[in-house]
């Protein structure tokens, strides 16, 4: 099956008085890895479920390969979904689980066998085919869920926080594996996560949602370099951007933003600060400082591992080495990045 563009046009979804999505317009082009990023409850799952056909939009249009699918049943949309819970069929063996979508489509037995074998091999499940999901570890279940999705060679993959139930190490491994899978198959992926690191490392583009409203769409580089507003600025990047509402400029209408990695410490910079905490992570240091006395604003500075960090309690001077963002305090919109 050909990979397909997936698009939402002015999609709105209400549950009673809750507005889960308001006028969402978004398109994943054919073969793209598009990440939907946002905090819990912002409508990411709802958007994915609308594309899968598991929810009806209150208004708006859903297209797959350019065709309007609002009235098409989930089973006929030819997209595969990976659920956060994996949703494996507990009464079926791994083999039968992977085979399920093929049998649903009445594929002949030999081809089924071939496809299952191939999917099992690409996710290293060959040894586990006769087990039941209850006998698998979390990581193995996750692989089965992926195998069940890829075996169909669908038009698009919809993944709803597929890695969130894995431990940190497996998550990093699977991240790489998913990217690799996408690179090989070149099938459209819509990937939902609340983890900005996942979003930034995996996505061709990232769409940031907040309270059902789309904030910004762009490549990881773009949303990092030019966050459209304060929300995106503070959501993307780790540690998050330092924001100084009004105070520094004596202009309450403007909020300044500086990323932690764009501060330097101790080379005669203009800002006086006291170090309150140092976290050394091995590959970098996070230094928390307070500018302008005990009740001044807290600033997080990110230093490379090679730089030796200051002591707690030490007086330091801070300088800004790279761009400063200026946001409208009222609307939160980015005014300029210099």
């Amino acid at each position: 099956m050909e990979s397909a563009a997936v698009s939402l046009e002015a999609v709105e979804k209400r549950f009673g008085s809750t507005v889960a999505l308001s006028s969402l317009t978004l398109e994943a082009s054919a073969g793209e890895f598009l990440v939907l990023l946002g905090p819990s409850g912002c409508g990411k799952s709802t958007a994915l479920r609308i594309i899968a056909g598991l929810e009806q939009p209150t208004s708006g249009t859903v297209r797959i390969s350019g065709k309007v699918v609002n009235e098409v049943e989930p089973k006929d949309r030819d997209v595969a979904m990976v659920f956060q819970s994996y949703a494996l069929y507990p009464h079926l063996s791994v083999r039968k689980n992977i085979e399920f979508p093929l049998r649903s489509r009445r594929m002949p037995a030999e081809e089924r066998e071939l496809r299952v074998k191939e999917a099992a091999r690409s996710l290293q499940l060959e040894e586990l085919l006769e087990r039941k999901p209850g006998q698998l570890s979390g990581g193995q279940r996750q692989r089965v869920a992926l195998a069940r999705a890829i075996v169909r060679q669908p038009k698009a993959f919809l993944m709803d926080e597929p890695l969130s139930n894995l431990d940190a190490r497996l998550r990093v491994e699977m991240r790489a594996e998913l990217v690799e899978l996408h690179r090989r198959s070149r099938t459209t992926v819509l990937y939902v996560t609340h983890d900005q690191v996942e979003a930034m490392t995996m996505g061709d583009r990232v769409a940031i949602l907040r309270g059902g409203v789309l904030q910004q769409v762009g490549t990881p580089k773009q949303v990092h370099a030019r966050p459209a507003n304060l929300f995106v600025a503070s959501f993307i990047g780790s540690p998050p951007m330092n924001l100084f509402p009004g105070a520094l400029l004596d202009d309450p209408g403007v909020t300044l933003g500086v990323r932690p990695e764009h501060f330097s410490i101790g080379d005669g910079g203009p800002l006086r600060a006291v170090v309150t905490l140092v976290e050394s992570l091995g590959h970098e240091h996070h230094v928390a400082c307070r500018i302008g006395g005990a009740d001044g604003s807290l600033v997080i500075v990110r230093l490379p591992a090679a730089v030796s960090p200051p002591e707690i309690g030490q007086q330091v001077s801070l300088g800004v080495t790279d761009r400063v963002f200026r946001f409208d305090s009222e609307s939160g919109q980015l005014l300029e990045a210099t």
């Binding site: 598991l54 089973k75 595969a80 494996l88 507990p90 399920f100 649903s104 999901p133």
Partner: protein
């Protein structure tokens, strides 16, 4: 440590004792007594002493049509009621499972027969099925005569319908609870996986609720073999013994013929049949039934 283990064990036994005592008094003793009574032949005229005949009475009673005919009726009754009751209960549960406006009203109506007793159900249907004044006779346009309960072919199915109807509320509630326990995301995964409605139902829902189906089948068979009230109130075993099920026969032999020996043999036989059927169902169905968590 050992002393503590002994003390704990003693305490555990002490706590089990009351339940065990109740079992001895109300289950084990009556059962043993019944087995024993089955070995005494009761003379045809009252006043004469019973005679110990041992197991020969078991052999003679169990091969006689006074036992075999009611056993067949009971078997038919179970075959009529159990599968139908489960299928209809499940179908209603599937309908009521959808979130539609006003669905609560239907849920209440569907479960309402749980609030009726066998006696109430029997009286309702007795009235409906009355050959001269009943609605049923009016519907089929055939008033008078013996009516359906007096018809040798239709009496047993009619009583079965009453039982199915009366148990429908229970069946519906049981099946609704089972459906509610099937995770939504599995059904959604199956839908996205391209499975049609019927494939989702038979390949996902049914296997996942199979423990409940199994439970309903066992309960149904046991209660089916113990049917008494409907028979007593609707047909009294007639016409001509066509609805004379096993328990009703035991009752007749015991109270009306005062033949404790024969009645005891039949009662023991009914007990053994139910135990064996349950074990067979367990052994046979267990392989097909999926228990969640078993992996």
């Amino acid at each position: 440590m050992r002393r503590r283990a002994v003390r704990e064990a003693a305490l555990a036994y002490a706590m089990v004792l009351p339940a065990f005592a109740a079992f001895v008094v109300f289950v084990f003793y009556p059962l043993a007594k019944t087995v024993d009574l089955g070995m005494y032949r009761v003379p045809p005229f009252p006043g004469l002493p019973s005679k110990f005949v041992g197991l020969s009475q078991y052999a003679s009673v169990l091969s006689h049509s006074q036992f075999l005919a009611p056993l067949w009726n009971s078997t038919l009754f179970v075959l009529f009621t159990v599968p139908t009751g489960i299928v209809i209960g499940l179908a209603m549960a599937v309908v009521a499972h959808r979130e539609l406006v006003g669905i609560r009203v239907f849920r209440t109506i569907f479960s309402s027969t749980i609030a009726t007793s066998v006696a109430v159900a029997s009286v309702i249907f007795f009235t409906l099925l009355d050959p001269t004044t009943g609605l049923f006779a009016y519907w089929i346009g055939q008033r008078g005569g013996t009516g359906i309960l007096g018809n040798p072919t239709w009496a047993l199915p009619a009583v079965a319908v009453v039982s199915i109807w009366q148990n429908l509320g229970f069946s519906f509630i049981l099946m609704s609870a089972a459906l509610a326990s099937v995770p939504d995301d599995l059904m959604e995964a199956a839908a996205v996986d391209g499975a049609s409605g019927s494939r989702r139902f038979f390949r996902v829902t049914v296997p996942l609720i199979s423990p409940t189906l199994f439970f309903a089948a066992i309960i149904g068979v046991i209660s089916g073999f113990q049917t008494f009230g409907q028979i007593d109130l609707l047909t009294a075993g007639g016409p001509n013994g066509h609805t004379n099920v096993l328990l009703y026969q035991i009752y007749t032999v015991f109270y009306e013929n005062a033949d404790t020996g024969t009645a005891s043999v039949m009662a023991v036989a009914l007990f053994v049949i139910l135990v064996v059927l349950t074990l067979v169902q367990f052994a046979f169905v267990h392989r097909k039934v999926f228990y969640a968590g078993e992996g």
